[in-house]
């Protein structure tokens, strides 16, 4: 009987050892964890560099006075008419661009929509068709005004399809250019929070909901 218990014990220990060995083999090594950390650091350094460069290149630019955008009911309006009552946050999206990036960013902006004012956020996309624009609004449950414009003529549009955000003032001048990164939610939150504190907090009422033009059921 004693022998039986001993053999059972040995078999159990051997089994546990094999399982542990297999698990150890599957576990990520220290060096691979270090590599991951290095990769993330490098990626965040790269993104930071890109934001700095593109802020310098895309801020303080005067958009064309003749620029027209098309609303979801297929009606053309001048870009200037959208900012007549004050500066707006413009979310620029490209249909062919990163859909996950824009979805992620819209979710974040929606969190700040009440404080900033829904009417103070405008989405300008390249979905060049009423149906496609409606699908985009429906899928992402977008509460903001949305317009189509093929080209705003900002330098960043020439080199990347990624979505970006900026402020547009009544003189059609761009400022506070921001390049969101899906992996850096806290940076986006800091951006919208700061925009709210510095620009919209004191004139919250200016973000009139009357600006909305969405009629999706």
């Amino acid at each position: 009987m004693n022998n039986f218990i001993t053999y059972c014990g040995i078999a159990l220990l051997v089994g546990i050892n094999i399982i542990l060995l297999v698990m150890l083999k599957k576990a990520p090594s220290k060096s691979s964890q270090d590599n991951d950390v290095t990769f993330h650091l490098k990626a965040s350094e790269y993104n930071h560099k890109q934001t700095v460069i593109h802020s310098l290149l895309n801020n303080d630019l005067q958009l064309s006075d003749s620029l027209e955008v098309t609303d979801i009911n297929d009606t053309k309006v001048s870009l200037r008419s959208l900012v007549r009552n004050g500066s707006k946050i413009i979310v620029r999206n490209r249909e062919e661009g990163c859909s996950l990036c824009i979805e992620h960013e819209l979710q974040l902006i929606k969190k700040y929509a009440d404080s900033i004012g829904i009417g103070n956020v405008i989405v300008i996309t390249t979905h060049g068709n009423v149906r496609k624009m409606k699908v985009f609004v429906q899928t992402n449950k977008i509460p903001f005004s949305i317009y189509y414009c093929k080209k705003l003529n900002l330098p960043f549009e020439e080199i990347s399809m990624k979505p970006f955000v900026f402020m547009l003032d009544p003189q059609l001048s761009t400022n506070n250019f921001f390049l969101p990164d899906v992996a850096a939610t806290d940076i986006s939150e800091a951006y919208y929070s700061t925009i709210f504190q510095t620009i919209f907090k004191h004139n919250k009422s200016s973000g009139s909901k009357a600006n909305r033009n969405i009629t999706i059921e």
Partner: protein, 416 residues
């Protein structure tokens, strides 16, 4: 001694009960070689009427529920069409054979039977299967759209399908530019979601390419990995080399991609090179239909399984509102299904009155080719179609508005 054998037996059983994942068997015994002419530039493109003998237009109903952003995959089954819009609408939308909206299959969410976005669809054994990459699961519905069950697998994949015997296949499409520990592109799972086989070991640094890899018709699944010129037939335990598209000296040398740091650079080089490569593939009852690219042009090839003859074609510039009915998006029985998105139809209508005659269609085709070459650097070789629509069809096509859903063109292949 008897007592000793019990724990030993238990130990041995426990070792052997561990799941055994083996490489899938590859069978090359029934391979059909299809040779592409050496001088590809001199290939004579067939007329529309050489390939098809009829066309049916299906106008997909447009309302808030049925709106499609873009079509990623079309599956025709019985008298129904299932449309996958992976990214924009994130839905699988069902229409009847006349284009009437029936329902949206499944819903967005995170619980059982829900998807974040549907990434692929397939139909097998009268069940509709949706692959959900984010949640690593297959959702199974009956043909009325009722949710039956979900099967979780511990893998990601670009393309996912249920095979004829109820097992599941995933294609990973691992590019050389991706950071991953995966060594195989193909994984097969049993009906419980346990992995049983791997295939297509990643030996070379290829870049990832198309979104969908599995092509199904009549219960058969085809797959061609990476930049291979082989088309395999896939079952749960065998990859059978079914067709070899022989480009001769224009075949891409192995490991070509290793010299390039990005997919874009590789594609630019490939399009300028003297190499041709296979892109899409579909098999109908009587034909293998495949596309290949050469010098950035796309050639559509129709291989008759009966006569073993090969005809070449391309998109045909049609005489009604600029439809491109030659594009092959899906097959069903002996029909080829193409779709046309009318979002820019207004621009076309402003300049042209439908139907144009063949001479006008020729001018339009020349101008369209010039436009694509200048704007995209692509020689797409559009040719005017010689197919004549009936007045009823012309009226239907002319009634289409830019905000309407895409229309389907179901074209019956002609025997040759």
């Amino acid at each position: 001694m008897k007592l000793l054998s019990i724990p030993t037996l238990f130990f041995i059983i426990s070792i052997f009960s561990c799941r055994n994942i083996s490489q899938i068997k590859v069978d090359s015994s029934n391979e059909i070689k299809i040779s592409i002419p050496t001088k590809i530039e001199e290939i004579r493109l067939g007329k529309y009427s050489d390939i098809f003998d009829s066309i049916r237009i299906v106008k997909l109903e447009t309302n808030n529920q049925s709106m499609i952003g873009r079509i990623d995959r079309i599956i025709a089954h019985g008298d129904k069409y299932f449309i996958l819009d992976q990214v924009e609408r994130k839905a699988v939308i069902e229409f009847d054979s006349n284009g009437k909206f029936l329902k949206v299959i499944g819903e967005i969410g995170s619980g059982k039977g829900k998807y974040k976005e549907p990434n692929d669809i397939s139909i097998s054994n009268d069940q509709l299967v949706v692959w959900v990459n984010n949640f690593q699961k297959f959702l199974i519905y009956d043909m009325n759209g009722n949710f039956l069950k979900e099967v979780r697998v511990k893998s990601f994949g670009k393309s996912g399908a249920m095979l004829n015997d109820g097992s599941f296949a995933l294609y990973m499409d691992i590019g050389g530019d991706m950071k991953t520990a995966e060594a195989f592109d193909l994984k097969i799972f049993n009906s419980d979601g346990d992995q049983i086989h791997t295939g297509f070991e990643k030996l070379n640094k290829d870049f990832s390419r198309r979104i969908f890899f599995f092509s199904q018709n009549n219960g058969q699944t085809l797959i061609s990995p990476g930049y291979s010129s082989y088309i395999y037939s896939l079952t749960n335990n065998t990859l059978s080399k079914k067709y070899q598209i022989d480009f001769g000296e224009k075949s891409i040398p192995e490991n070509s991609a290793a010299n390039f740091v990005s997919l874009r650079q590789f594609i630019v080089w490939l399009n300028k090179s003297e190499y041709a490569y296979l892109s899409t593939y579909h098999e109908t009852d009587g034909f293998l239909i495949f596309n290949f690219s050469y010098h950035a042009s796309i050639y559509t090839c129709f291989y008759s399984k009966k006569s073993r003859r090969l005809k070449f074609a391309n998109s045909w510039f049609n005489n009604v509102n600029g439809f491109f009915p030659g594009v092959v998006n899906s097959v069903c029985g002996n029909n080829v299904i193409s779709y046309y998105d009318p979002s820019t139809i207004d621009t076309y209508k402003k300049g042209h009155q439908a139907p144009t005659d063949i001479k006008q269609a020729q001018v339009l085709a020349v101008n369209a080719n010039k436009y694509f070459m200048e704007q995209l650097g692509q020689n797409i070789n559009l040719a005017p179609s010689d197919f004549h629509y009936s007045q009823k069809q012309i009226d239907l096509l002319n009634s289409i508005q830019p905000s309407d859903n895409p229309i389907l063109l179901v074209q019956r292949l002609k025997e040759f």
